[in-house]
Amino acid sequence: MVGQLVEGPVTARLPRRARRNYTPYLLLLPGLAWLVVFFVVPMLSLFSQSLQTGNVETGYVMTWNVQTYVDALSRFWPHFVRSLLFAGTATVLALLLAYPLAYFMAQRSGRWKNILLVLVIAPFFTSFLIRTLAWQTILADTGPVVAFARTIHLTDLLQLLHLTSNDSLMNSPFAVIAGLTYNFLPFMILPLYASLERLDHSLIEAAGDLYANPAQTFWKVTWPLSLPGVVGGTLLTFIPAAGDFINARLLGNTKTVMIGQVIDSEFLRVQDYAVAAALSFVLMLIITAMVAVYVRRAGTEELV
């Protein structure tokens, strides 16, 4: 009698509990399937492509040809260095521009906060390509920006720094870096804003109360607490900037070619699929390694 009473509900509950345990995995399935089809499979195909020999007409055969990597790197290592340098500079510039802006928006803007947020996102309403093309007009030799830069001798300074080669701004490393900085600025602002918005203002008051002057308050409290935003923003800026090929093509010259451009032309114009695949793979490995080191050193897991 007692046994029956206990047994009844237990057997009735079992299948329901089992079903509930599978629900999260079922929900994960579409995403996992998507990643397998559009990330894992292409990655493997890319990796295998990089080790094959042949050409587009006759087709490719797998030969485990590691020599492709050696050739690709010896030919294109300057482009890798340049890409990382340009992307790094653009990231630092974007951080310097975005931090004060994000701080103001998060802590001081009051009722203007939402309007400022919309303004940050507004550029996304037009295409990336159009916005970059617009910079050709902005930096054009006949435009007011160049005229002003010449007046304040910014053009001379940039030449001195080898960021331009004459007294114009277009088709130069400067233009490429400016374009990269502009295009990825929102990706820097938004994570910074998110972490600064969470920053409890009473912590800033507490630092002042405990004898920290404004500079000390910033470096001892505000900056460490905004590090998750800094790490997020720099990654979201650096990674796409390092692989970008639009800015260098539209704003640069033959001496500013970035690795993204090389991969683009190796795939689509030269049609040397093996080299293009090898370059893509190396770029991915470099970025992954740099990000891993950077995130570990920034120690984001230590932060709340």
């Binding site: 409890d200 009473s202 912590l203 008051e205 507490a206 630092a207 002042g208 109360d209 405990l210 004898y211 920290a212 002057n213 000390q216 308050t217 001892k220 409290v221 460490p224 607490l225 230590e302 932060l303 709340v304």
Partner: protein, 385 residues
């Protein structure tokens, strides 16, 4: 290092206005060095604004703030030898407990900051969790860390902004006692902002009651309770029964008052020389049930000089320590009576009773003031706290 000669905290004519709202209005206040001082008042009375001005987090619109003979009005928060225990504690989440406590010492480049921080943590009995992060601590522990972080700097003035507000009742009682002990141990000036009148009375040597940006009364807890000088104080600190009275005669140290046709007595020294109309106040626990009407003084407490009132019990609630009665007087006013559970025969609802109290337990308040001022504030705040 802190100058041991630095003296009292003084506010002279301090006013703070936010656009059209005056938060603090012409405040003059002296807080003696080494005292435990409470700023008590309902929310929005200006007490927190006052504290923030002393901390340097807000600037007074007019007026000066002095510590000893030094005018600190124009100095920034980080330049003042004043520390605050924030209501939200405001512990730095990215620093360990000991680094939180040492924060102020390190900014001042005090040698041996780690050892001093550990000593402060020992004072609040938290040395064993020095390496933890604030997020791993309970509210009560965070509160004590915040206290240690402020005390370790040996400030001229330590400000506490509703420091116990976030703790549960039992922990709050315990922390009240601890705070008071720590204060007498370290001998710093504590300025404690609170809306909890019981907390203020338990802890402070001196209480300043604030209302609508102004001081109502500054006195020690017993004086505030026994001799409130305004209806606001009478109602905000505990409960008061206020009876409309006018002075009939003054003779031999006692004044005869006319209260709705009855004659009640009050020591003359409670009255100003020119007072004719007044609120006669008496605390609920000072009233005694001296028996049913016409039955004589069955409880034997009565002295013939006692004031007498008669009324009908309309509510009685037994609380263990005491029984709280609501008694309707012949003119319709309802007054509160708290009868200690000392063997006095209880009165049932509907019973006719006689109430008595010694004239010296009465106090006089300005008749032009609102008899209900402060009563609602207290009810709101104790409900929220």
């Amino acid at each position: 290092m802190t100058e041991k000669t630095s003296g009292d905290l003084r506010l002279t004519g301090v006013t703070k206005t936010f656009e059209t709202f005056t938060a603090v209005d012409q405040l003059d206040l002296v807080i003696p060095r080494g005292s435990f001082f409470a700023l008590l008042g309902p929310s929005g009375c200006g007490k927190t604004t006052t504290l923030r001005m002393v901390a340097g987090l807000d600037q007074p619109t007019i007026g000066q703030i002095w510590i000893g003979n030094k005018d600190i009005t124009e100095t920034k928060a980080y330049q003042r030898n004043v520390n605050t225990v924030f209501q939200s504690y405001a512990l730095f989440p990215h620093l360990s407990i000991v680094d939180n406590v040492a924060f102020g010492l390190r900014r001042r480049k005090v040698p041996d900051h780690r050892r001093k921080a550990m000593e402060a943590l020992e004072l609040v009995q938290l040395a064993h969790i020095a390496a933890k992060k604030p997020g791993q601590l309970s509210g009560g522990m965070q509160q004590r860390v915040a206290l240690a972080r402020a005390i370790v700097n040996r400030p001229d003035v330590l400000l506490l902004d509703e420091p116990l507000g976030a703790l549960d009742l039992k922990l709050r009682r315990q922390m009240q006692i601890e705070l008071k002990q720590i204060q007498s141990e370290v001998g710093l000036t504590f300025v404690h902002v609170t809306h909890d009148q019981e907390e203020a009375m338990t802890m402070a040597d001196t209480i300043a009651v604030m209302n609508a940006g102004k001081l109502e009364q500054v006195a020690d807890p017993a004086t505030l309770y026994e001799r409130p000088t305004s209806t606001f104080v009478a109602n905000f600190l505990g409960q008061s029964n206020l009876l409309k009275a006018s002075v009939k005669s003054r003779a031999g140290g006692m004044a005869d008052l006319d209260v709705h046709g009855l004659t009640l007595r009050l020591p003359v020294d409670r009255l100003k020389a020119d007072t004719t109309e007044l609120w006669l106040g008496v605390r609920p626990e000072k009233l005694r049930l001296v028996g049913p009407v016409g039955a004589g003084d069955v409880n034997g407490a009565g002295r013939t000089a006692d004031n007498r009132l008669t009324g009908v019990v309309i509510d009685a609630s037994f609380t263990g320590l005491a029984t709280n009665y609501l008694v309707r007087l012949p003119w319709g006013q309802e007054i509160m009576v708290v009868q200690q559970n000392d063997g006095t025969r209880p009165a049932a609802r509907g019973a006719q009773v006689t109430l008595g109290w010694a004239p010296e337990h009465g106090f006089a308040l300005n008749a032009s003031q609102d008899a209900h001022a402060g009563a609602q504030d207290q009810a709101d705040d104790s409900g929220a706290g």
